[in-house]
Symmetry: C2
Subunit: 224 residues, 2 copies
């Protein structure tokens, strides 16, 4: 186990996406990048206003070579990202605490993707509806068919942005702690405490008729 090996790490798509630290944890292949993006429900988008970086958490979804996010058309964040400015979209999944025999070798198991580029506005109403369908059906497969479709006004009020995955890299750590050889003799518990996002029992809205069945896709939801 230990750290992932490098057999599926390919050439980074750009120098600035090259993972510098712990290069053995780096992956640049599409399958790894896509799988991490698809497993995540929340991304963090970085952008700059007047020299100050901002990092905003928001839901994301992927369709082909693009990763999408959205929000209110009145959002300062989205307006700041409109005009082709540079963004960084990062998705991180925390998989465990790595408890070593020294503080120095404590770590975390994780999967993360960092994607750089210029945000593009999705402006065409049909493309917007299609993107929103993708989003809702990613959360709960089949849900788009069940809910009310968006009105023209709602579509206007929704800004959708996307980023082409031209400059993306993944970083993954798995496995047990890697301690200094002499520390393995220390009388301290060491290992991994797995962590995962878990779904609880669905909570029906208070105004729902009592006999409304919970859809299978909701009851059986497994994050990631």
């Amino acid at each position: 186990m230990a750290d992932v090996d490098v057999t599926d790490a390919e050439t980074p798509p750009s120098d600035r996406t090259r993972v510098r630290r712990l290069a053995k944890r780096a992956h640049y292949d599409e399958a790894t990048v896509h799988a991490i993006l698809d497993a995540g429900l929340l991304c963090h988008v970085g952008y700059v206003i007047d020299g100050q970086p901002y990092v905003t958490p928001t839901a994301h979804w992927r369709d082909g070579d693009y990763v999408y996010w959205h929000g209110s058309s009145a959002s300062r964040m989205l307006r700041a990202q409109l005009n082709g400015i540079s963004v960084c979209l990062t998705v991180s999944l925390l998989d465990g605490l790595v408890l070593a025999r020294s503080g120095f070798h404590h770590s975390m198991n994780y999967r993360s993707v960092m994607a750089l580029g210029q945000a593009e506005l999705v402006d065409d109403p049909e493309a917007k509806v299609s993107a929103l369908k993708h989003f809702v059906d990613k959360l709960v497969p089949g849900r788009w068919e069940d809910i009310r479709e968006p009105t023209t006004q709602e579509l206007k009020g929704t800004t959708i942005l996307r980023l082409r995955l031209d400059e993306a890299s993944a970083k993954v750590r798995t496995g047990p702690p890697v301690d200094d050889e002499e520390d393995y003799a220390l009388p301290v518990w060491a290992g991994v405490l797995p962590l995962a996002l878990q779904a609880g029992t669905p909570v029906a809205d208070g105004r729902l008729p009592a006999d409304t069945a919970v859809p299978k896709a909701v009851a059986g939801f497994r994050p990631g």
Copy 2:
């Protein structure tokens, strides 16, 4: 329930930390900000290199009015953050999917904090040890006493940064979906699917003597 009310929202510490969208979800009081920072295991730090924003996930911890993060002294990220440049540190906790009767009102329940400012280097060796103790004991209370203490070389190889929580804001959403009045009659399940990070069964390191007990603080670990 619905969205949190604003009774504990105080004046934002600066105009740029004022929550613009959905101001009813904003909180600026210390207790809310601290509780969210303390509940999170992973933050996302935003910084700018050559005009390009980067967002890096990393572990964080809080001590008083400061939030800390660390990494290898060889890290490009940490070197870029050294010289008092502006950073944004964001912590987000995903608490649930909010499944409404229209796509437009789908949402997420979450708690997040965004803190802006200039990173400061923690340079004094004693202050570094004290900070690392805080970090390890945040993860597993009491662990610092059990593990090997850091060597001079390890301390040199570890860069610790901190940010004073002068410009921080929190944003929180809780409760059920808020649908348009006419949509409540639609025959579709609506409600909240709770989500939470959960710890699994500790996995002992393969080189650990078989009779090594799992510390109570590890076995009983509850994220958040």
